[in-house]
Point group: C2
Chain length 501, copies 2
């Protein structure tokens, strides 16, 4: 492994920096803030975290962990369960750390993906004691080549006091050239981001590395944890069909062409399944300008539907991952990985006019969306990039099945128990029953679309009963609500295990 590593560490001054994971872990002290690479289980450091888990067996210490997004089990399960993490930001998705966040043992800050870098740049998040960054190579002129994600690594490396590189020899050399690293200057001294189409390159192939900050290089051959997405089913196929029909009508109305507009598709099984539906569609020469490139993106590439795919991470199932990374040269020309502040930047999202598809947990009759909290209190994963996209996209679309827990939870409720996307930011809702196109509508005009087109039929009478009572008792206010009853469905769910009354 060391010989292979030396081939990948092409900057000679760094070749004698290789240390063991244990030694690197010994530098990490109680109270430190670690900035780590990784985005949705891709491109994360894996062996230093495991050494920290070992260290925790003999030493009491806690650190704050700031990353791109969710990491694999080495951090978000094992480090978390070892009690090493005091505070975690800005996204997570592992059941282990979720449990600890919801029992008060780990603090968690849930932030828009595009905003993290500004907080780090300003030092609000910081000082970062160590950056721990996975790399596939270090070039002769000192560029760190990331692996399967870019995430927040550029700004973390820029602001960290010291850097530990996890050089992962298991990634194919052909990863080099896929990344496009553009780092904005501080606010006020910044120029426009010169990106005018999804497939353009505007930066360097790697992240500029301040050699003097590199404390050590740890070798690794651990692969990314595979994604846990589940396959499309009958209901997600229905949702895809509704979405495609909606887009078809947008083309007919002259607002889009058959190549549509750059597409963003959220993290998770439902968004992946819906994107999958484009395989059988009339649309072609598609551009993807997204955050995470999941399985469906590669299926669309294989089918010749996609001319370029830009994201900040590649997160694939076990099987897809093996296929893609063994044939990476087939995909290289159309793949671009960017820093998450560029993949999710409002400037670019608005300029390109994205079609954005994200998943909702629940939606209320006026179009407010909850993406993060179960019954108001319990965190699921986090808002991720959904807010970056929905707020700034040409079309902010949210998809969800109309029900959960075998029908005991309605995804359409009188009032959501937490708001991540306000009525002002939600354009279109799609469930397996149909589409609610909310654009330009007043709250009361949205109600019939959401109840009649999107809610599960079992819940429609209950939803109408709430709305009609609210109209009557408020005297038909702008957004009629009965505050005594607005959250009663959630309360009933807790007591009776169903929202059915």
């Amino acid at each position: 492994m060391l010989r292979l590593a030396h081939k990948k560490i092409r900057h000679v001054a760094l070749q004698d920096k290789v240390v063991s994971a244990q030694e690197a872990a010994s530098w990490i002290k109680d109270g430190m803030l670690l900035g780590m690479s990784g985005f949705t289980r891709a491109g994360d450091a894996k062996v230093v975290p495991l050494a920290l888990v070992e260290k925790a067996k003999v030493e009491n210490f806690q650190v704050d962990v700031y990353t791109g997004a969710s990491l694999g089990p080495e951090v978000d399960q094992q480090m978390a369960e070892a009690g090493v993490i005091r505070k975690r930001a800005p996204y997570q998705g592992d059941p282990a750390i979720r449990r600890l966040i919801n029992s008060g043992e780990v603090l968690y800050t849930d932030a828009h993906v595009s905003h993290n870098a500004e907080l780090i740049r300003q030092g609000i998040v910081g000082p970062i004691d160590f950056a721990i960054i996975e790399a596939t190579a270090i070039t002769e002129d000192g560029l760190l080549i990331p692996t399967t994600s870019v995430g927040n690594s550029p700004i973390i490396m820029q602001m960290a006091n010291e850097i530990i590189i996890e050089l992962n020899v298991s990634h194919p050399d052909s990863l080099e050239g896929i990344h496009d690293i553009y780092i904005p200057d501080v606010q006020g001294k910044r120029s426009p981001i010169p990106l005018n189409s999804a497939g353009e390159r505007i930066g360097t192939v790697g992240i500029p590395l301040d050699i003097s900050k590199v404390r050590g290089i740890v070798l690794s051959e651990k692969t990314d944890a595979p994604s846990t997405i589940v396959q499309p089913d009958e209901e997600t196929a229905k949702m895809a069909e509704h979405l495609l029909n909606f887009l078809h009508d947008e083309v007919k109305a002259g607002r889009l062409t058959k190549t549509l507009a750059p597409i963003q598709s959220g993290v998770g099984s439902v968004a992946n399944a819906v994107l999958n539906g484009f395989l059988e569609s009339e649309f072609e020469d598609l551009e993807i300008y997204s955050e995470v490139l999941q399985d469906a993106v590669f299926e669309l590439i294989d089918a010749g539907k996609v001319k370029s795919a830009s994201g900040t991470s590649i997160t694939l199932s076990q099987e897809r991952g093996e296929q893609v990374y063994s044939q990476l040269e087939n995909y290289r020309d159309c793949l671009i990985l960017r820093p998450q502040e560029i993949s999710n930047h409002p400037e670019i999202i608005r300029r390109l006019g994205l079609i954005s598809v994200n998943t909702a947990l629940e939606i209320d009759i006026y179009g407010n969306v909850n993406s993060t909290h179960v019954s108001g209190s319990k965190m699921m994963n986090g808002i991720g990039g959904s807010g970056d996209f929905a707020r700034n996209a040409r079309l902010g679309i949210f998809v969800t099945k109309s029900y959960a827990k075998g029908g005991n939870i309605s995804s359409i409720v009188p009032m959501v128990s937490h708001v991540d996307h306000t009525e002002h930011d939600v354009d279109v809702i799609v469930t397996e029953f149909g589409v609610a196109d909310l654009r330009g509508l007043a709250p009361k005009e949205r109600v019939p679309l959401l109840i009649n087109n999107c809610a599960h039929p079992d819940y429609r009478p209950q939803l109408w009963a709430y709305y009609n009572a609210a109209v009557e008792k408020t005297g038909n206010h702008h957004t009629p609500h009965l505050l005594e009853e607005a959250l009663s469905w959630h309360v009933h769910l807790e007591k009776a295990k169903t929202m059915k009354k």
Copy 2:
């Protein structure tokens, strides 16, 4: 007036287009969509609306009215009360139309100020039958020179089928040259907006006018309705002091310099009063990059504190207005009025790194902000630009007095009854009691800052009681809430006329 008007209609082909307001009103038919100039009672058409009110006495008709923002009493009071308005968007602020919105007689769509133009451009709002636009002149080469606001007029004129110009001869000629009209291309064909500092000019001095669409020119000498802001008081002075101390500390921390960053200040008395506080501050050479330029901006200019002030409208009190417009040449060099999609564009707000100060109606213990709805149902004015700014600014600051209605309403509540700005978008809260700096914090870390620094002391024990019970009963979830009680303060207010329990 006609002779003066002919001097101002410098495009010869238009000089015979002058018609009476009655004739212009006769062109407006039931069911039409009118796109009108005007933003916060500035630069709105006034005589055609009054002719429409007259017409309504003898003819049944209703129209939809889409503007920049709130208009003066001719539309938002008299047209509304005459029953002429079916639907109103995207902002309003007159008690008359507010009452009709909350009794179900007028539909209202409340939208982000920066987003309107995209909806019009795509035809989601449209087709616009008539644009009715106030102008101070029409140049030889066919530019319409707006008056005291730009708002959505450029995109409305571009997309409308026909245009009625209200040529207002009461405005000083020196208004010409203040405007900077830059109109983005359609999404996907758009370049970066080439604006790198608040005081730059990137467009033309007027709005390109398609002469063939001009149906008529109506003459007017009606002045803008003055703003209704109230003067600073002891509590707003306290809030200003807290905000200035906070900014002082930001300078000390090296995150800002004494010239700060471009400042946006929201519409209304409280935000105006807080901005007023900068008069006595250490900060200088300030730049204003805002939406509405209110009285305080001109006081800061008079005091030599401001080097440039950019907005989309100028809305002044009676006295200030008379002074400013009689001495406009003194202010001209530092004033710029832009289309609202540029003044509020996320691309620019993020690039410049604005300091944004907006008013909240209520804030919950986790930092979610309600700017629009009283007790969840009743619309006040609308979200305006507060979301554009708070989401994208360097510092998204919300100010509010800690109480309302003589102490019977607490501005800090367990759960807000409507969310306009989510916990992800709110950086700093200021009340007369102090500052809560929420940046980078987890929900539970925000609670003590909001309760102990910002809430009125009368309500602190009640807030702690709610939070502690929520922590205990949920088992310390990420965002502990008791859904049975979360909105009980508002319910109690309705029954007992106080939130005090």
